[in-house]
Subunit: 360 residues, 2 copies
């Protein structure tokens, strides 16, 4: 157990953007929301998965939608609380613990906002170990937790609840609602008890995000190349492996809003004018290829980082001419089982590539 | 108070199809569902608006979606009950009375199904006095009843609940859910107390539907022209006026599924080859014109009836070559106030025509 204060947010937001692998929403906005919530309500208690009592009623939370939309349709900061209250009111459950459903981007910060607003403890874990674009792509679902009921809220106070026995159907219906809520909605779902939470979650990902931020910050202070420091650090975590896939300049970006997601292709040309890297995105970076060779693919993380600062660039902020490093991170074992790959491996995204874990 | 039995269904379904003004869903399927529910659960108690106690908790119900879809995606018969149970479970209200939200088509029969299944009394009234394509187009909304919470169910058991402070927003979000539920969903909403129900509802529309069926049936037996009998009868009701607008042959029908509705234009050419009638549809028949002259427009009813049988032809069953009468029916005064016309007059459908009540 430890206390999170506003001073921790900078590193968390930095690391969450890296874990966002291009998606998960803009962490800058998330940081501002979390700071405001902490200023108003005080700090947040962060507890490890092993500290969650069996009988806890855990909910997971985060935002759904296309990250591009957050740039314009700024959250009010109360959506997550409204979704939680709607969840409690309609299901009759009394929530005792909060967990992010996604460790990446904005969605690392929303649960901090909610924990500050409610005073409930925040669990240092999540269900993606990164960001994914769909609600069923959760270790919670992989290991048997029902995705529904799903409580949803938008910044205008519109609310919705979805009940269905399939996580894919929950995604499909909730996505429809999200689109009608303007392309962004706050969600509370995957309610479960504490014993289940310990079994089905990716551990310590809030701390991982914070560590990523800290390592890069310290590298800058020590005049060490930050991405090298990051690679070294990540190899010591339960993720186990990271590597620099390549470097270059963003030379093309084709991106559109489709079915409620940002989808497209990013082209990065190496500085030696060699064959370009091509990254397919659906909110997140899904696969990177070069001359028909797959260099990395979901669920492994593909992170586009600013060459100088190692700051992650979310897909909606990619621009022609940016100079970037491409970092690959292998996911931890809980995300590489056959059951897990069936839910968020290449096939789940309609990709033909075979999953081969980075560094193995 | 009177008892509805399976013997009443034939006339009700016939009349409901007429009041459906082309929409409201196929009454044949509704009749089969209602008959099955009555066979399993017994008859239904129908009560007048003036018999509803002040403290009743009334809900209204019906199906949302494009009528075309019911032809393929046949209801299971339990959707309405699932929506009701979800409404009760999530809101904590105990429902005491059931009212149709729409007097037309399939949506006259669904509440009979629900009343049979629950044993709750059915109120002889509705919120449209006909069929309309949108959830906010209800006298309930016109006279101040919140449209939400909206409980929704589909035939596979998927459930959703919508909470919002605007009826138009409830329509927008629920329509998005309906599309994701396959284009058809069962709804329970417009919860209100008995005193409110008496103030805001269009009275006696279930009896009106049944009387329409009876009058046509008796006309056939007496070898009287059924549409003439219908016009004479309707002039004696609280609707006050009906007329034969024209007759002819369906010579063109352009219809597509758009944003969850069936929309299009029907052309009917008179037998004397005079200028054709043109009817614009959005699930229902909205406006009929001939050589730029508006002959009737919403909220008044435009009903396309088989020339020989006076059976209403819903828009999804219109075919080239059908020989039809076009019947216009004026709506009752509660549906012609300025507040009512703001919600379901021509402007609400984006039509330029001015509303002039038929026969006035």
């Amino acid at each position: 157990m430890r206390i999170l204060t506003a001073a921790d947010l900078e590193d968390i937001a930095f690391g969450a953007a890296v874990l966002g692998t291009g998606g998960g929403g803009d962490p800058y906005i998330g940081k501002l929301l979390a700071r405001t919530a902490m200023e108003r309500n005080g700090p947040v208690t962060l507890i490890g998965l092993d500290e969650v009592p069996d009988g806890a009623h855990v909910i997971t939370c985060g935002a759904m939608g296309a990250p591009t939309i957050v740039l314009e349709k700024v959250p009010s900061g109360d959506e997550m609380l409204m979704a939680l209250q709607y969840y409690e009111k309609t299901t009759g459950h009394r929530v005792t613990h909060i967990m992010p459903f996604e460790a990446g981007g904005l969605n690392s910060c929303y649960p901090i906002v909610l924990a500050a607003q409610t005073g409930l403890p925040l669990i240092d874990a999540d269900g993606m170990g990164r960001a994914f674009p769909q609600l069923e792509m959760e270790t919670f679902n992989v290991y048997g937790v029902p995705a529904a009921p799903v409580a949803m809220a938008d910044e205008k106070g519109n609310l919705a609840l979805v009940e269905t026995d399939s996580a894919a159907k929950a995604e499909f219906i909730a996505r429809g609602i999200c689109i009608r809520m303007g392309g962004q909605a706050s969600l509370v779902n995957y309610g479960m008890d504490g014993a289940t939470a310990r079994r089905v979650s990716v551990p310590a990902t809030m701390t991982l995000a914070q560590d990523i931020g800290r390592v890069v910050r310290e590298a800058h202070a020590a005049h060490v190349q930050p991405i090298d420091a990051l690679v070294d650090f990540l190899r010591t975590t339960h993720y186990g492996h990271a590597e620099r896939i390549g470097s270059g300049k963003v030379t093309d970006i084709a991106r559109r809003f489709e079915n409620g997601w940002s989808v497209g292709v990013v082209t990065i040309t190496p500085f030696d004018d060699g064959a370009p890297y091509s990254i397919r995105i659906q909110n997140e970076n899904l696969v990177i290829e070069r001359e028909d060779e797959v260099l990395a693919v979901v669920p492994d993380l593909i992170c586009v980082l600013d060459l100088d600062t190692a700051e992650a660039i979310p897909t909606e902020r990619l621009r022609y001419g940016q100079r970037v490093d491409i970092l690959g991170i292998r996911v931890p074992p809980i995300m590489r089982t056959p059951e897990a790959l069936a839910v968020f491996g290449p096939r789940a995204f309609g990709l033909k590539a075979e999953y081969r874990p980075l560094g193995l």
